[in-house]
Amino acid sequence: MATLPQLIEEDMQRLDDALREFVSQTDATAALIIDKGGFLIAHQGDSSQFDVTTIGALASGAFMANQTIAGLVNEPNFNSVYQQGEKSSMLVVNIDEHCLLIVIFSANIGVGIMRYYASGTIRKIATQLVAAQNRNPGGGYDLSALNIADSEKLFRKKK
């Protein structure tokens, strides 16, 4: 049976390190790694001012929609979406089959520098994600510590 993708402390540390280095190199406001299903995996920079969970869900949808549109116009080369703003701009770049890098940066900074440094960061992230996916299944976290009986009313309705 397929195991769940699991991220351990070492993975998170390396992903955070890669993002932190990228933010430092580019002066980006925030950098996020998201799964293409919309899950937020890691983020660095000053992301406290943003709703990063919602940004992750919407950015993954927008990226996938644009990729589909590119396919419809017979464009095979599609790996990023750039939104140019007056205050903040955003670049979403493909990492691998499963993940995306989102960069939020001041509109004063050119997108070229983001693209330049993103390529190295993406390689580091992709390497770590492959390591996480290929990890020994037996070494995974055992969720049986959760008691399923406790989940009877995970979501309770207000009285």
């Binding site: 769940l4 699991q6 293409k36 995996i41 929609a65 995974g140 959760l146 309705k157």
Partner: protein, 204 residues
């Protein structure tokens, strides 16, 4: 597919509400958003990408954190798909990475062909993503039970729940918040059961 983050002891899960147009998928999310008991900060904003007439254009999205079990946080992302036939590509995009499905059927007699067509469309879209309905936990919600022209539950079971393995089903009147939490708690339970089974260490 769900992500387990051992560093932060979090499990992230994606649940998609699927079904025919105007069946009550968005209403389910609105009711969960309005009535769920959560600790401060555990419920995100309900985001709706809708047309001016409140028809879902891309998806509705509600991030929500369930109560912590044994120190493990379970973060749920609830999505709806646009029900209208023309938005099939969008439905495929939203289904990517799905862990569990709540199929919201419309109980009105005249909507039965649309219910069956939508369920078939769900199976087709899962197949296009190399997924199989038999491998994904799902529950059926028979919505609009309060309408006078609602078909009997037995008839809907015959139409939609007649596979080898029957799945849990619930009558609902989503706009009154009836059946909404029952469906959500059941899909949650099925999902956690599946994850627990998957994560158990292999037997020697």
């Amino acid at each position: 597919m769900a992500i387990i983050n051992q560093a932060t002891k979090e499990l992230q899960v994606k649940v998609v509400y699927y079904g025919p147009a105007m069946g009550g998928k968005t209403t389910n999310l609105v009711q969960v958003h309005d009535h769920v008991q959560t600790q401060a900060g555990n419920k995100g904003k309900l985001v709706s990408l809708a047309t001016s007439s409140d028809r879902t254009l891309f998806f509705d999205f509600l991030p929500i954190e369930a109560m912590t079990i044994k120190g493990f946080k379970t973060k749920f992302q609830l999505y709806t798909v646009p029900g209208q036939v023309i938005y099939n590509t969008t439905r495929q995009l939203v289904l990517r990475g799905v862990d569990g499905i709540v199929f919201v059927a419309d109980s009105q007699y005249e909507k039965m062909p649309e219910n069956v067509e939508s369920f078939q469309n769900l199976m087709d879209n899962l197949t296009s993503l190399k997924l199989n309905i038999a491998d994904i936990p799902y529950v059926l919600q028979y919505n609009k039970r309060d309408l006078p022209n609602a078909a009997p539950v037995e008839y809907m079971e015959f139409l939609l729940n007649n596979r080898e393995a029957q799945v849990p089903s619930f009558g609902a009147s989503a706009h009154k918040c009836e059946g909404v939490f029952e469906s959500l708690n059941m899909i949650t339970r099925l999902l956690l059961q599946k994850f627990i089974n998957q994560s158990a260490p292999p037997r020697a």
